[in-house]
């Protein structure tokens, strides 16, 4: 076999491999849509999306409760995580002495690697009893517990993208501000943060995508009951938890509605991440 032949073959082969990511994405969309069709056809889109009644054994398949659960937990988690993460990003990019920053950064990044179930477990054992004590009712498995766990889980994502975008601002901008007599903080607040705004927003958006997709830790600390969350101390269920906890035992229409749950999740995340990636890209 001549080496030119090998070269030509490998070029074609590489192209095939190159499109794998695209193919997987298409396959995911097709198969989840295919699984959803029976329920979408029979029950109807509106009845699934906007009904709060989820009693699979009685043929009631409304996923609005879970949608609300996901949204509420995510918003609360972001409310906790964003100030912390942006603070951390400023700390790492501007404030911390080099040596301390170099120790703190890997420490914060380690949070990404810790398995979801370990967060869930620590949440169950430490956080939930504390919250039960605080609220005086229930087991502590609640929206608040889920939001705190989730906030810790998305913190490193938002921190690292924000830090990158702060560091991407040309040093000249900062030096210009400092030369005009601004304090370091004024330079950060009036020059660096606005210049890096786009990247920071992208970080928050991408963090939102991660938060909505989180599954096992949510199942473990949120109580996983399909009821509309009425207070932060009440249990709830997320879209992800709905799939994980029921897919194993579901058949027929029930299974199909779980695929609809997955479809909603997929579309939601695609939309969120497209926005996030676009914001993060144009900055460069």
């Amino acid at each position: 076999m001549s080496r030119y032949f090998v070269d030509r073959i490998s070029r074609r082969l590489a192209l095939c491999f190159g499109t794998v990511a695209f193919l997987i994405l298409i396959f995911i969309a097709v198969f989840i849509l295919k699984g959803s069709l029976p329920a979408l056809g029979e029950i109807g889109v509106a009845d699934i999306l906007f009904s709060t009644e989820w009693y699979p054994s009685h043929g009631a398949f409304g996923i609005f409760t879970m949608f609300a659960g996901s949204v509420v937990v995510t918003i609360l988690a972001l409310a906790i995580a964003v100030p912390l993460a942006v603070g951390c990003a400023i700390f790492l990019a501007e404030v911390a002495p080099c040596r301390i920053g170099n120790m703190a950064r890997p420490a914060i990044e380690l949070l990404v690697g810790i398995p979801s179930v370990v967060y869930g477990l620590v949440g169950m054992i430490v956080l939930c009893p504390a919250i039960a004590h605080l609220s005086g009712t229930g087991s502590g498995s609640s929206v608040l517990a889920a939001a705190i766990v989730l906030a810790i889980m998305v913190l490193p994502t938002i921190t690292s993208i924000s830090e990158d975008s702060l560091r991407a601002v040309p040093t000249l901008y900062k030096e210009g501000a400092l030369a005009l007599g601004a304090t370091h903080w004024q330079a950060v607040y009036h020059v660096l943060l606005p210049a890096a705004r786009r990247g920071i927003v992208a970080a928050v958006v991408l963090g939102t995508g991660r938060a909505i997709g989180e599954t096992m830790a949510m199942v473990m600390v949120i109580g996983n009951s399909p009821i509309l969350p009425t207070s932060i101390f009440a249990p709830a269920r997320t879209l992800t938890g709905n799939i994980a906890s029921e897919i194993g035992a579901a058949t027929g229409m029930h299974e199909s509605t779980l695929f609809v749950t997955g479809l909603v999740l997929f579309v939601l995340i695609m939309a969120i991440n497209s926005v996030g990636l676009l914001l993060n890209r144009r900055k460069k």
Partner: protein, 287 residues
């Protein structure tokens, strides 16, 4: 409202920044420390080398889970590495700078954001049901390979792009084909970066739970073939926590996971230092 002096404002702002930084590091230390302190004392050879027996008390150890996890790592990597490297080679070496390539890269980024449970649902529909693999290690490995693909592609592509273009030109000038240049020059030079990516993916296999929970089933028995179900360590933590009273054993299993993840982190950190050192060496000596 009286305005604070700029100096005082800066003190407050820096105080806030330090506080958030300290909180983030403390949270990490507390979680890791708590799991290790609670979990490590429960671990003994009996726990490591006996299999879970099921039941509400969560008797038994984690041996079959360790075996399942190892099987899963091997099979997932066997599928993932050729696919991921192939895609990375295409993107780094062959892809022209056009809209199609941008689109492919965008797909890789989008795929990286798809949640684990959606991959699980996909794997359940395709591998478990349509391909009749049932709940099995193979179904889990295929699903996981799809999930980890974008991460491997990204790190491998980055590693290959970091190889100076002049090295490729040198190979091509000597009459090598593009493929020979890739295999004999670019990949060896990019190897540390690629290996780092692969090690990180191993960490992903160990840490992942949601997509495996719905594609591998929960059978805690010793896996006998690729088509038998299995329970990885991470999924075992979930079962112990949700269905048994053995929270101490869940903690112990969690501690094993944390130890693995910390080791993987240290290895990749060491590797990237090595890489940087080598890069610096290269700039001063040629190759």
């Amino acid at each position: 409202m009286t305005k604070l002096s700029p100096k005082l404002t800066q003190k407050f702002a820096w105080g806030f920044a330090w506080t958030t930084g300290v909180i983030a590091v403390l949270v990490m230390l507390l979680i890791v420390g708590y799991v290790l302190v609670q979990g490590l004392p429960v671990i003994n050879s009996d726990f490591l080398f006996s299999s879970p027996e099921g039941g509400l008390a969560g008797e038994g150890g984690i041996f079959s889970c360790i075996v399942s996890t190892l099987w899963l790592i091997v099979i997932t990597m066997a599928i993932l590495i050729p696919l991921g490297l192939g895609a990375a080679i295409y993107l780094a070496e062959y892809a022209p700078d056009n809209r199609f390539t941008h689109f492919i890269r965008y797909c890789v980024e989008l795929l990286a954001g798809v949640p684990s449970i959606v991959f699980g649902l996909f794997g359940f529909a395709v591998f478990v049901l349509a391909l009749h693999l049932n709940y099995s290690i193979l179904a889990g490995a295929l699903t996981l390979a799809c999930l980890l693909l974008p991460f491997l592609v990204r790190s491998a592509e980055e590693a290959m792009k970091a190889v100076p273009y002049s090295q490729r030109e040198a190979a091509l000038a000597l009459g090598a084909t593009r493929w020979q240049a890739t295999i004999h020059v670019v990949i060896p030079a990019a190897l540390p970066g690629i290996v780092t990516g692969i090690i990180l993916c191993v960490g992903g296999v160990v840490a992942e739970s949601a997509c495996l929970y719905v594609t591998m089933g929960g059978s805690a028995g010793m896996p006998t073939s690729l088509l038998s179900g299995g329970r990885t360590l991470a999924v075992h933590v979930f079962y112990l926590a949700m269905e048994t009273n053995a929270l101490d054993k869940a903690m112990a299993t969690g501690a094993v996971l944390i130890v693995i993840i910390v080791i993987i982190n240290l290895i990749t950190r060491w590797f990237s230092h090595y890489l940087q050192a080598r890069m610096k060496g290269e700039t001063s000596h040629g190759i």
